[in-house]
């Protein structure tokens, strides 16, 4: 839909005469987005450009002389050689796989359970919204308390079941990452479930009747009809959740602080620590650019999948 074209005859004649006006006409209503784009330019793209710039410098805020010494690619090379960064990158990817995987499986199960109208299912749908709205920092503090080795409710019941919790779920390096994944699964599975439920609800009943007439069992109907039709929404859900898990900060910062050791260190948190507690700005900027590249790679994969399916907005 372009700019309204049939205003008055003389106006369009004038537009044809003047190249500037013609160009303006071709722009359509894009100038309406100009203030927002200008705002992005100042407060998003300028900082990002600045971040690219300082990533080539040794720039420490704690340095009293505040010198910015050109370092070339040193900060990037440092990241690849830094064991902590490598662990953080690996943990970030592992976190995405575990959390998004669990959210998809559990979300699909919940969506299927809620798809058939039974008394009580609307109430369940309403209650499922609660985790989505809750302040992440409050959620993180609640789980930190629940996981406390000595007084935490989760630790207590695990012990009652005869599980040796040691220093607690978040105190043991072997379970700490999994404990954090559970926090994310708790808060965001409902979103995936409700997305997939919306997808299931939009599927026409005729298809399933046809499948039934052809002798398909309930399981076959699900695997061969419902699930393939759900693919576009499933991919969008995966994309949204993957992006969000890469942004994960609050729960790592509050629940484990990246520990014990580097067991739950993720890129976001490590960058934050490097830049804003150790004030090594050049290195932090270099790492955040690497994170952007990693996210870009994941996005490209999803967009390819979306493109292949021919799904459009």
């Amino acid at each position: 839909m372009g700019e309204y074209t049939g205003a008055t005859a003389d106006r369009s004649a004038a537009a044809a005469a003047r190249p500037v006006a013609k160009w303006l006409k071709r722009l359509g209503l894009l100038p309406w987005a100009a203030p927002a784009l200008l705002f992005m330019l100042c407060f998003a793209f300028y900082p990002l450009g600045y971040s690219l710039y300082i990533s080539f410098f040794n720039y420490s805020l704690t340095d009293p002389t505040q010198t910015q010494e050109f370092a070339g690619l040193a900060n990037y090379l440092k990241a690849f050689a830094d064991p902590a960064f490598r662990v953080a990158a690996l943990n970030s990817v592992l976190f995405v796989i575990l959390a998004v995987g669990a959210q998809t499986v559990l979300g699909l199960a919940i969506a299927v359970l809620l798809n058939r109208d039974r008394p009580g299912t609307p109430l369940v749908r309403t209650l499922l919204l609660a985790p989505l709205t809750l302040t992440p920092i409050v959620v993180a503090l609640v789980w930190r308390a629940l996981y406390n080795a000595d007084y935490g409710v989760v630790s207590y019941y695990l012990k009652a079941l005869g599980v040796n919790v040691g220093r607690g779920p978040i105190g043991e390096p072997s379970t700490a990452l999994l404990a954090l994944v559970i926090v994310d699964v708790w808060q965001w599975t409902p979103l995936v479930a409700l997305m997939l439920l919306a997808g299931l609800r939009s599927q026409s009943a005729d298809l399933f009747e046809a499948a039934q007439i052809d002798g398909a069992s309930g399981w076959q109907q699900f695997w061969c009809v419902a699930l393939p039709l759900l693919r576009p929404i499933l991919i969008v859900a995966l994309l949204i959740r993957t992006m969000d898990v890469f942004k994960l900060f609050d729960s790592v910062f509050i629940v484990t602080g990246g520990g014990p050791g580097y067991a739950t260190e993720v890129m976001n948190h490590y960058i934050f620590k490097t830049g804003l507690t150790f004030f090594d700005m050049g290195y932090a900027a270099a790492m955040s650019n690497l994170l952007l590249v990693l996210i870009g790679l994941f996005t490209a994969v999803y967009f390819r999948a979306i493109g292949q399916l021919g799904v459009t907005q």
Partner: protein, 277 residues
């Protein structure tokens, strides 16, 4: 068709599974609510105390421990400021992108989506330096500006989708009757888009209210938000959970209410309009 007995068995299995799932999703919330109403010694009692006489003492204590009212005011100022700025920039942008079918418009929309996907930390570090240089660190404005970067893109995408779902013919009719483009937007399109506007606004408010990372770095002593205030109840006693739970309840109550109001639009909002219920 399924037999009656089989149907009943299926129902029993479904309800059992749903009960287990709801137990998992409600349990942390029940813990928070009950802990906020417990006396200190019950808050971390082992074995956990689930039956007790609820008291309001924690809420009273929290108000004397932390300047809750000031933090509420700061959170509200920042959330309202972010909402206003994001709507002011994002709504016309969404309209322009919805009513322009050029490649430039498509690319601008994708550019905004890319910003939305960038992790806040990547922007936060250079933004922090910029704000320091122009001496805005510690002000409401610093927090509002960066939150608005993320939320303007959100509003623009939401509103683009909303305006696309409205017929353009009405605006064209208004323009043949002598309305300017702005008049057609203001008098025809915008009133029709009020539900979308309300949804985008409430979401932005919620995102801003729930934010912790940006205020932690960008706000100052006099502009601290409630999400930062919660941590102050934790610093002295690691297991002072009853007070933390009380201020936590104060923090989540507004967003929980807004979420309840927005219920029919929630999934659509969180998926940037990709999924409609």
């Amino acid at each position: 068709m399924m037999g009656r007995r089989r149907q009943r068995a299926a129902d029993a299995v479904t309800y059992t599974l749903l009960a287990l799932i709801m137990g998992f999703f409600l349990f942390p919330f029940v813990w928070l609510l009950s802990t906020s109403l417990k006396p200190a010694r019950d808050a971390f009692a082992i074995p956990p105390v689930w039956i007790f006489r609820p008291i309001m003492d924690n809420f009273r204590t929290v108000f004397s421990m932390v300047p809750v009212v000031a933090y509420l005011k700061n959170s509200l100022t920042i959330a309202l400021g972010t909402t206003a700025l994001s709507l002011l920039l994002g709504v016309p942008a969404g309209y322009g992108l919805a009513r322009t079918a050029s490649r430039a418009a498509g690319n601008s929309a994708l550019l905004m989506l890319a910003i939305r996907m960038a992790p806040p930390v990547a922007l936060l570090i250079p933004f922090y330096l910029v704000m320091r240089d122009i001496r805005l660190l510690g002000t409401y404005l610093a927090v509002i500006l960066l939150q608005s970067v993320f939320n303007t893109t959100f509003v623009a995408w939401m509103m683009r989708g909303y305006f696309l779902s409205l017929p353009a013919d009405l605006e064209l009719a208004a323009m043949t009757d002598g309305c300017t483009r702005f008049g057609a937007f203001w008098r025809v399109a915008l009133p029709l888009a009020v539900p979308g506007l309300a949804t985008a606004g409430i979401f932005t408010f919620t995102f801003s209210w729930n934010d912790f990372l940006l205020p932690m770095l960008l706000s100052g002593r006099t502009t601290r938000t409630l999400t930062l205030g919660i941590l102050e109840t934790m610093s002295t006693y690691e297991i002072g959970w009853n007070n933390m739970a009380a201020i936590g309840m104060i923090t989540i109550l507004p967003v929980l209410l807004l979420g309840y109001i927005l219920q029919p639009y929630y999934v659509r909002g969180l998926t940037l309009g990709a999924v409609r219920e």
